[in-house]
Structure formats: C-alpha cells, structure tokens
C-alpha cells in the first residue's frame, strides 16, 4: 500500500459503515490497536545531520529498515536518537520517500552510491517515480555496460572448457581474440578485395593486338583471370563451410543476411562451371557474372559502418517509400502534361506518356541531358514549371527524410527502452498487487487462529501472531474481510479460481448458512469456507478431533454443503496445545450441530440466500462454535 493512502485507511474503514445495513452476515472483529501510541517525533542522526519526522511517517513502509524494528539496532540511548553512519545527502531523498510516497533519483548522485544507500535502507529501486525512472535506468545501464566492458577485457583469455567448435565461432565473430583469427580476418579481406578488383579489371581494354580492336583484359588473359577467380572462390567456399560448421545454430546462420551474401557471391562461379559448354544459356551466364559484384558486400563483415548503414536503410524503409511515391506522383503528372502539350508539334520525341517519363525524371533531378527537349511554347512553359518543381519535390522531402530518419531512429531506441522498462515495472506492480491480495489470503488463514486465540488463553501465541502483521496491514485485511462478509463471497487467488471454474462446480453455497450463524458468533460459518479451501496435504488430523469434525462434516452434507474434510486438515496449522482445546470443546460442537435441522427447513436448500436469524447468540457462547468452524 502506498504511503499516502495509508493515511486514508481510517477513512476507508469508516466508509465501510455503508456496507453494514446491506450485509446479511455478522462482521468480523476489528483488530485491536495495541497501545495507542501518541504520535511522536523521531530524530534520525545521519552522520551528524539531524532529520526529524513523525513515527507514523516511518511506519508507513514496514518492510524497510526505518519502518521496521530493524532501526532499533541503531538507537543511541544517551542521545535518544537513531544514528546512521551514511551519506546525509542521499538520505534526503530516502526520507522524502517516506513523506511523499515517491522515490526520486537525484541526478547529481552517483548511481552505484545511490544503489547502495537504497539497499542499506531496504528500499527497492523499482518504486522510483516515473519522473526519475528513465534517467535512473539509463545511468544504470551505462554503468552495467562499463562493468561488462571491464569484464570482457579480462575474459578474452581462453575459457578452459570451450570445445574446438566454439573457439572457431568466437574467432570468426571477434577477430581480436587470437592471432589466428586476426590473420584469417585479414586474409579473407584481402581476397575479397582481389576478387572485386579482378572483376573490375577484367573489363578494361588491355591494349590491342595488331589485327583486332581493343579487347578487354579478361579475354586476353583468360587463363590468368580464371585462375584468380578460382582461387578466390575456393577461399570463400572454405570460409563459408567453416562458418557453417562452427555456427551454434546452423539453421539460423543459414538464414542470416551475411551468409546469403556469401552464397550469392560464390554461386555464379559454380553455375558457370556447370554450364560452360551450353551456348544457349551463355547469355544468362553472362548476367550471372553480375552477381559477382555482390562480393563487395562481404566487406560489411569487416566494416561496422556498412552494417549500420544497411540497418538504418532498413529501418527507414517507410520514409523512402513515401519519397518514391510522391516522386512517382509528380512524374506521372508532369509526363502527362508534357505529352499533351507536345502532341501537336511534329517530330516530337514525346511519343507516349511513358516516353515522357524519362524527360520528366531528367528534368526534375536537374540533370538535363538534352536528348528530349520541348518545342512548343506550352511545352516549354510546362517544362520550366517541371524543372522548378523538381527542385522542390526532390529537395524538400530529402531533409525531411533525413531528420525523420534520425528522429525515428532515436525514438525507436527510446520506445524500446521504455517498453522494456514498462514490462518490468508492470510485472513488479502486479507482483506487489498479488502480494497484497495473497498477503490478505494468507492472513485470513492465520486470522482464524488469531480470533480463536483472542478469547481464551495463550497470550504468547496471540502476541506472536499479531506481530507478524503490522497494525496497518491487519486493519486493511479487516476491511477486506468486512467486504467479504457483506457480499457473502470470498476472495480467492487466481489458481483456486481457475480450479473452481474448471471443475465447473458452480456450487451455490450459502457461504453463510443461516443455521450455523445463528449459533455462532461474529465469525460464523463464513470462516468455515475459508478454512475449507486450504487443504494441507501433509496434514494428519489428531485422532481425538476426528470424531467431532466428522460429525460436523456429516451435517454439512445434509445441508448440501461440501464435505469439510479439508476443513479438518487445516486445523493442523494450529499448534499442538490448541488441539487439546479442540478436544475439550468437542462436546459443545455436537450440541451446536443438533440444533441445525430447523433452519434448513425454512430456507430452500442449496440456494444462495442467507437469512438472518431473528435471535443472535452472544459472543460468550461463540467460544465453542468457533472451534467447530475448524
């Protein structure tokens, strides 16, 4: 429960009076406020700087150091204050957390120092407020990365238990791990360069033989170039196969972009080997050689920049698409206009609209080759409009795209960050919420025994049980308990609820059967049902109790209730001295049970309408019956 609303708990409890006239069950007893303390000022001396606050302020968070009894360890008897030998500046934000319920991260503070303070005072960092959370997480991540970098430098020594395959993969991915990897890295780079240069030089005219015109070098020194090509392709093939062998997940490796590039780079050669003799497909074969240029993309393994460029182009695809679309629109418009404008003139190059596309593109991009020129006046007018607008249409979206792209890039980063943080935070909040409700459910089980023990003896047990839950918590649980009584339904946790749904048993129990409530005090059978759903598998009912409880369960069957076998097992939670009290009260149990039959005759069986009984027993007689609820 947040600090601020803890102050509103009295209000929520007072407002619960609104449920009372509606409720048909008696309400549970309120938790006793042991020794109403006057609100007193506490002095916290943190390394000489004195902070003062109310005790209740600190009590709002009982699971932290200052809110629990842990602070008693730091109590100084002579000066009557709590002394902490910690940083007073960081303590300010911690104390403010108690006061306002929101934890802030001071930006000038070092992240690790702040984390240490939080850990010392038992506060989890996840409750840092929204205003400061992003900053905190960013700083934390930077710190973590710095630590990781430090670690990696130490880690580059070979880990002893890596097998050959893993070593190879690490060598491929990170060339700096060993000398061999570095050598391999440079060798492959060198051969990629050689291959690309070869492809280029192949087409250069290489001097002429006397009776022929210039031939490209490729045809003059065919053998040499072929050998070069073969060598390169062999190196690439070996490299690809080695990577394939070393990859931890071969399937994923084969699907990755880099391996596809590798395959595309070496495939033309092999296809060419297979197909040299067939003249028909030599045309296609020539086209295939174009793909050899893809070998240049293999450089992206060697260059970080290329990889980033590729990634950013991919992420900016929609912006580029928009640019293309708007350009297409403009081109079509102007091409149409030019075509119709130039239709009249003779020997016009603008033979069709698609033919005018070329003119439009050349003009808009301000290239102006001059191979197509308008001759009519209208054509010239529209042509000039086209070239002017070309400047705008091209020049305007490009910076927009550039800035868009940079904004989207950063936005994506921030959005991913926020999404990752949000999931963790929501999970944390959900855990706290379920913790709260499961704390309530847990306390209900203990609460039964609390109420039981309130009446007769064993003060020690009662004190022990009341210490385990803070007063605030017990008051809150009492409030939830009242709501349960009002609606005659109980809170259960998710699992149990799904179990019940699955069993399909929509049993309409009078969760507060009139009969028993008439005999019993405030707790009534409403408690029975709580106990009923807590089967403790490792329980063994003390034999003396079994008789009485089985009678109870028999009667429950009569009232079309569930057999309360699990009820009996839950009595195991009780300590042994309590079971003896069970025995002595068993006689009273039977009497209570006998008088049951009359009310069921009045109320239709198995329906969910609990009737209030006209006469209520006083609490004094409820001693016996409380036992029977177990």
């Amino acid at each position: 429960m947040a600090a601020g609303v803890a102050a509103w708990l009295p209000f929520a409890r007072a407002a619960a009076i609104g449920w009372m006239p509606v409720a048909n069950c008696p309400m549970p007893v309120a938790p006793r406020d042991h020794g109403k303390r006057q609100d007193e000022l506490i002095i916290l001396n943190v390394s000489g700087r004195r902070f003062q606050t109310w005790r209740t302020t600190l009590d709002r968070y009982p699971d932290t150091l200052l809110g629990s009894s842990e602070k008693e360890f730091f109590y100084n008897e002579e000066t009557k204050e709590y002394f902490f030998d910690r940083d007073p500046d960081a303590f300010r934000s911690i104390l403010n957390f108690y006061r306002t319920g929101k934890l802030h991260y001071p930006r000038h503070e070092c992240i690790s120092a702040y984390d240490e303070e939080l850990a010392f005072f038992g506060i989890i960092p996840e409750i840092i407020g929204d205003c400061c959370y992003e900053e905190y997480k960013d700083r934390k991540r930077e710190n973590a990365e710095r630590l990781m970098d430090d670690q990696e430098e130490n880690k580059d020594n070979k880990l002893p238990n890596m097998n050959f395959r893993e070593t190879m993969w690490r060598a491929f991915e990170n060339p700096h791990t060993s000398t061999m990897a570095l050598v391999f890295y440079y060798v492959t780079g060198f051969f990629i360069a050689i291959s690309v240069i070869t492809n280029v030089v192949e087409t250069v005219p290489c001097g002429s033989t006397p009776n022929q015109k210039d031939v490209p070098c490729g045809e003059r020194y065919t053998v040499a170039f072929f050998c070069m090509d073969t060598a390169c392709v062999m190196i690439f093939t070996v490299e690809y196969l080695m990577r394939l062998f070393a990859a931890p997940s071969r399937y994923r490796f084969m699907r990755s972009v880099m391996s596809i590039i590798d395959v595309v780079a070496i495939l033309p050669y092999y296809i060419g080997l297979v197909m040299t003799n067939n003249e028909d497909v030599s045309g296609a074969f020539v086209t295939l050689r174009v793909f050899r240029v893809f070998r240049i993309f293999k450089f992206s393994r060697h260059s970080q920049g290329l990889r980033i460029l590729g990634y950013t182009l991919k992420s900016c695809a929609s912006e580029l698409g928009f640019l293309l679309f708007s350009l297409t629109m403009a081109i079509i418009i102007f091409a149409t206009v030019m075509f119709y404008a130039e239709k009249g003139s003779s020997s016009s190059k603008f033979t069709s609209i698609p033919a005018s596309f070329w003119y439009t593109i050349v003009t808009m991009t301000t290239l102006g080759y001059g191979d197509m020129v308008p001759k009519t006046i209208a054509g010239k007018i529209f042509g000039s409009i086209c070239s002017l607008s070309g400047v705008l249409v091209i020049a305007l979206p490009v910076p927009v795209i550039v800035s868009n792209f940079s904004r989207i890039y950063h936005q994506n980063q921030r959005a991913d960050k926020r999404r990752a943080q949000k999931k963790a935070r929501l999970a944390r909040i959900r855990v706290v919420k379920t913790g709260m409700s499961s704390a309530f459910l847990h306390n209900k089980r203990n609460g039964l025994f609390n109420e039981l023990l309130e009446l007769p003896c064993s003060e020690e047990v009662e004190q022990h049980l009341s210490k385990t839950a803070s007063l605030l918590e017990s008051q809150h649980h009492h409030l939830l308990h009242c709501l349960e009584k009002t609606t005659a339904h109980e809170f259960v946790d998710e699992q149990l609820y799904e179990q019940n749904c699955r069993e399909g048993a929509v049993q309409s129990y009078p969760s507060c059967s009139p009969s028993l409530s008439s005999q019993e005090g405030p707790t009534g059978t409403c408690c029975t049902h709580q106990a009923r759903k807590n089967p403790l598998p490792d329980a063994s009912v003390p034999p003396t109790c079994q008789g009485a409880l089985q009678e109870l369960s028999a009667v429950h069957i009569q009232c079309s209730d569930q057999p309360a076998l699990s009820t009996s097992r839950s009595s195991l939670n009780m300590k042994l001295d309590d079971t003896s009290r069970l025995n002595c009260k068993s006689g009273l149990i039977t009497t209570a049970i006998i008088s049951i039959p009359t009310p069921p005759a009045v109320s239709p069986e198995g329906d969910s309408q609990p009737l209030t009984s006209p006469s209520m027993q006083t609490i004094a007689s409820s001693n016996a019956v409380k036992v029977s609820t177990l």
Binding site: W8, G18, P26, V29, L480
Partner: protein, 215 residues
C-alpha cells in the same frame, strides 16, 4: 507540391486550439483551498484537536491542493481493493461526502463525514448510510438505486471469488434487502423504515459499533 501547400495551410488552425487548452489548464491548477480554522472545525465535529491535526496531515499529503476531486478519490479508494474495481462505489461515496455537490471534497466535507461515521450516534450513522444509498437524494431508496449500489459493492470483489460470483447475486441481495426493509411493500424504502428496521437488527447494530476506534 500542391499537396504540400495544402498540408501547410492546415497547420495554423491546430496551433490556435492548442494555445486555448494551455490557458484552460492554467485556470484549473489555480484552484486551492484552505480549510477553516482548527477551532471552528473542533466545534463543528466531534474530533479533538490532535485528531484533526493527524487527519489533516494525511489529507494534505495526498491532496496538496486541499480538495479531492472525484478522480483522485477513486484512485485512492481503489488502492484498498486491489482485486476488484472500486471506482463505481467510490463514485457513490464521493457523492455522499460531497454534501454541497460542488464536485470536490474539501477537508471540511471530509472531516464532517468522518465525524458522523466515527463519532456519531447510531441514528446519525444510519442517516448517513441512507443518504449513501439514496443516489438521487429524494428521500426514497428504490430498487434500481439499491441495485446500483449492490453492483458497485460486488464489483469491488473482482472476479476471483469463492463461490464464483454469479450475475444474479447482486439482484438477489437486493431482494433480501427489500424484503427485510420495506415494511409496507410499496417498492421503496423510506428513511423511517430503514432506521426502524436497522435498529431492530442486532447484527447491524453491532457492526455499526465496529469502527469506533479507528482514529
């Protein structure tokens, strides 16, 4: 290019709308409320000075502006019932506390309400409860009003209950209530019928005393 020009011409209108909303926000946040003096509150309620101090400290902590509006109220109240949806019931509660119906609960309203609930006589408490159930404040509780209240209460339980919450549960509960309270069977419950019936019901009488020592 023409499309771009059209787009640009549309922009100025939106900017005007935005400046208006900024001014509106300035107005709202200027609302502050300072409660009456301690002595006056002491005279009007049944709390001691110290208790008023404690109450105000808690109140002001959560609502520094001095008033609670309905959304904050719903927020605060929902925190006590994590499993269900407490907003409908909080709405009815808010109307019960906001006695002058000005849309916000000031500290005086808050403390007056609490004074009745915690230190008032049984008659006053029952009066308050009747006021809560009577949504349109016409002096009669009809079945529809009671059904709304009942549904709101059952909403707070949430989904995961034992036994499984059925659709008719609130309606059945309302039927029981009316059977008990509506003596002359005219379909509405008046304040006298309500108080009469509650005073004859030991259960209710006992639970009214339950929260005496909350502060």
């Amino acid at each position: 290019m023409g499309a771009l020009m059209v787009i640009f011409s549309l922009q100025p209108k939106q900017r005007n709308k935005r400046t208006d909303s900024v001014e509106d926000e300035l107005e709202l946040s200027a609302v502050r409320h300072r409660p009456e003096g301690l002595e006056q509150l002491e005279a009007q309620t049944r709390f001691t000075r110290k208790e008023l101090q404690v109450l105000y400290r808690g109140f002001k902590n959560e609502c520094p502006s001095g008033v609670v509006n309905e959304d904050t109220f719903k927020d605060i109240y929902s925190q006590f019932f994590p499993q269900g949806d407490a907003s409908t019931y909080a709405h009815f509660l808010f109307n019960a506390f906001d006695t002058d119906h000005n849309g916000s609960v000031s500290f005086e309203d808050f403390v007056m309400g609490l004074s009745i609930l915690l230190r008032g006589s049984v008659q006053e408490k029952l009066n308050w409860a009747f006021n809560l159930y009577d949504i349109n404040k016409d002096g009669y509780i009809t079945k529809e009003e009671m059904l709304d209240i009942m549904k709101a209460i059952y909403d707070m339980m949430g989904k995961c209950t034992y036994p499984i919450l059925k659709e008719e549960a609130p309606r059945q509960h309302v039927e029981i209530f009316f059977q008990k309270m509506d003596k002359n069977k005219d379909g509405v419950v008046t304040i006298d019928e309500f108080i009469d019936c509650c005073q004859n019901d030991e259960n209710i009488m006992r639970s009214m005393q339950l929260f005496e020592n909350v502060i």
